[in-house]
């Protein structure tokens, strides 16, 4: 789960990482009140999970209450690359002498946390990596040893930060590492990490990705929400315990097992179709789960046809067939279904479907045949849900 900037800064603050003083606001009036409490000038910042918010007009400096009002009014409800702004973060404007970059990433290849530091902050780090790779210093930390002071010194000298900043940046990285580990994040990124005229280092932005699998140990983090990022079908699927990702096409997809579902999306695309979703019904799916999944898929009004691609291992094809029959009884879908059942109890599953004589349900024997068929049906069909 990616956090919003203000959620990340609040998490940083809990670990002693210096951040500018700020307040959260959902309305224009709240923003004005927040600014008055903080003292002018302030910065009004849109809270959405995209980079480059400033360039897109989502970050504005305000010198007095009227300016805060005008900016908050303009930014709330603004569409920033597909994300509607519902929340603001109002913070005291910082004086900036230099902009650096610091992050800790979960390096899957080395199986160690990777510290990254650069004196070229405030810009896209991938662009810096391309045009000036020397400007980026990196260092792995043994997770069993944890962060040591020498890590900070080594990285700071390698990045060629000014001598007087070596110690404060080392201390900053130490705390950042503490947050990375104790909050069980897979990414903490500070861009820019600013140097103030007093030579203090402060996190002016915060990008934090939490490990979803560890949320059971962090009930406070599990409560954090981002209303602007929530897709209605994804939300509905989550409540039902289904693994679902919204895509932008018109063919609903259900399969069992993440790899097989990804493969199904690819094969549908190869036949010229556009998948509307990823849905992994999981191992050992029972009939109720299938019925519930069909409801989620059909809640998307763009869906013109649905493909079931099941290779039964623990999942039994007769359970899948019963779930589909029940879904038809409960919600009477009007779009065509192509159903490919293979593996455990496939003969029984196909018999259940044939006996039920469901309207507009087409059996297929192979994955390729199923994909080809559903693409053709989606082309003919019109959305009716």
């Amino acid at each position: 789960m990616d956090l919003l900037e203000y959620q990340g800064k609040q998490l940083f603050a809990r670990h002693g990482i210096p951040v500018p003083e700020g307040l959260h606001a959902r309305t224009v009036d709240e923003a004005v009140e927040a600014a008055k409490g903080l003292g002018f000038p302030v910065v009004v910042k849109a809270q959405v999970k995209i980079g480059g918010r400033g360039k897109a007009g989502g970050i504005k400096l305000a010198g007095d209450a009227d300016e805060v009002r005008a900016h908050a009014d303009a930014i709330l409800g603004m569409d920033l690359r597909g994300f509607t702004v519902h929340e603001l973060w109002v913070e005291r404007a910082s004086q900036i002498e230099a902009e650096l970059y610091a992050s800790i990433v979960f390096d899957r290849s080395a199986k160690r946390p990777l510290l990254i530091l650069s004196t070229r902050g405030g810009m896209d780090i991938e662009a810096v990596a391309e045009e000036d790779p020397e400007a980026i210093a990196t260092l792995h930390v043994d997770p069993l040893l944890g962060f040591q002071d020498f890590h900070g010194r080594r990285l700071a000298y390698a990045a060629k930060v000014p001598d007087d900043l070596v110690r404060p940046i080392g201390a900053f990285l130490h705390r950042l590492y503490g947050a990375f580990v104790s909050e069980e994040t897979t990414l903490v990124e500070v861009n820019p990490l600013i140097v103030t005229p007093d030579r203090d280092v402060v996190a002016l932005d915060a990008k934090v990705t939490l490990d979803d699998s560890a949320l059971f140990r962090h009930p406070d983090n599990a409560q954090l929400r981002d209303p602007s990022a929530e897709d209605p079908q994804e939300q509905m699927a989550k409540e039902r315990g289904l693994t679902y990702v919204s895509l932008d096409g018109d063919i609903g997809i259900l399969g069992n097992g993440a790899g097989l579902v990804m493969s199904t999306l690819d094969v549908v695309a190869q036949y010229g179709g556009r998948p509307a979703n990823f849905l992994d019904a999981g191992g050992g799916s029972k009939a109720e789960a299938i019925t519930s999944a069909v409801e989620v898929i059909l809640a998307n009004p763009r869906v013109k046809a649905v493909l079931f691609n099941i290779f039964g291992g623990i999942t039994r094809c007769d359970e899948v067939a019963n779930g589909l029959v029940e879904a038809f009884r409960q919600i009477e879908p009007t779009v065509p279904f192509v159903v490919r059942l293979d593996g455990t109890n496939d003969v029984e599953g196909r018999r259940i479907l044939a006996d039920a004589e469901l309207p507009n349900v087409h059996p297929a024997t192979t994955m390729n045949e199923a994909a080809e068929r559903v693409v053709a049906l989606a082309r003919e069909g019109v959305p009716t849900a």
């Binding site: 290849s109 997770p143 699998s213 579902v261 990823f278 290779f311 291992g313």
Partner: protein, 292 residues
């Protein structure tokens, strides 16, 4: 021959007394796997279908000479259970559990690397290891596979069954099928398992099924070019996955521009590995190579 599990495997199951654990462990036993022990703290003295249960792995190893472990406990207990099995000297540990926190996996991986270099962890979040006709450790539906000379290594369960089944329908079987799992920090990599297959006399061809996220496939491509003499056929899932979205498996995510299916397929092809665009095509390529 086969890799990791065979007729000499003596399996101890962590979570044998649980519903899922007993269901799959007894399936493995029916297949012919020697399931010799279970571990559940506080349940020593009990037995499940004749398999004795112990409080600790150390007790289980002492009493039964167990030489392999299967981890079937909930995510919050799984890392501890893996470490306990390694501490008891068990050389092969297969972790089925899905949803283990990434930092737990990081600690386990680094500890095993430093303190137990001879221990091989497969998984977590994997379907296990099947050596047809010899032993099944995990949840792979063994009925679809028979003995043969194709080694399969995959990040996904059902995708493996799909590809394996298509190969089986052409009359070919498997030396072993190894699910390395869909998590960000797998205990064993493609390279680890491909190396085992390279040295396995029975394996004549290797099929690897990868997916988006990380760079394990790219690393495998380099390794294959330099160290593998046997033919390798690959498949990559997730060409249509949008960036920033986790596609079911915790490790299946395109981060920015890295970890894409296209980059992986290109890296493999650049190193001479044939990549099928559909599971069916992978099976066709494998069969073509096997028939020479």
């Amino acid at each position: 021959m086969s890799v990791l599990v065979d007729r000499d495997t003596r399996l101890c199951v962590s979570g044998l007394t649980g519903r899922e654990g007993s269901f799959h462990a007894l399936n493995n036993k029916r297949y012919g796997t020697q399931v010799v022990a279970g571990v559940t703290p506080g349940k020593a003295g009990q037995s499940v279908d004749g398999v004795p249960v112990f409080n600790t792995f150390v007790d289980a190893v002492r009493e039964t000479d167990a030489n392999a472990a299967m981890i079937f406990v909930p995510p919050r207990f799984a890392a501890d259970s893996i470490l306990e099995a390694a501490d008891a000297g068990i050389p092969v540990i297969v972790a089925i559990t899905e949803g283990i926190p990434a930092h737990d996996e990081l600690r386990v991986f680094n500890h095993l690397r430093q303190a137990h270099p001879g221990t091989r962890l497969v998984g977590p979040n994997c379907p296990g290891v099947l050596s047809p006709g010899k032993a099944n450790v995990g949840i792979i539906p063994a009925a679809f596979f028979k003995e043969g000379n194709v080694g399969v290594v995959s990040r996904s369960g059902t995708l493996t069954y799909q590809i394996g089944n298509e190969i089986a329908q052409q009359g070919f079987g498997n030396s072993s099928i190894v699910g390395i799992g869909g998590d960000p920090v797998p205990g064993s990599s493609f390279i680890d398992i491909i190396t085992l297959f390279e040295h396995d006399a029975e394996t004549e061809l290797i099929v690897m099924a990868g997916e988006i996220g990380g760079s394990a496939e790219e690393e495998a491509a380099e390794h294959i070019a330099e160290h593998v003499s046997k033919p390798v056929v690959a498949y990559i899932a997730g060409f249509t996955a949008p960036p920033g979205k986790t596609m079911g498996h915790a490790g299946a995510i395109v981060s920015g521009t890295s970890g894409t299916a296209r980059a992986k397929a290109e890296a493999l092809e650049a190193r001479g590995v044939r990549v099928g665009r559909t599971p069916t095509q992978v099976a066709e390529l494998a069969v073509e190579l096997l028939r020479g």
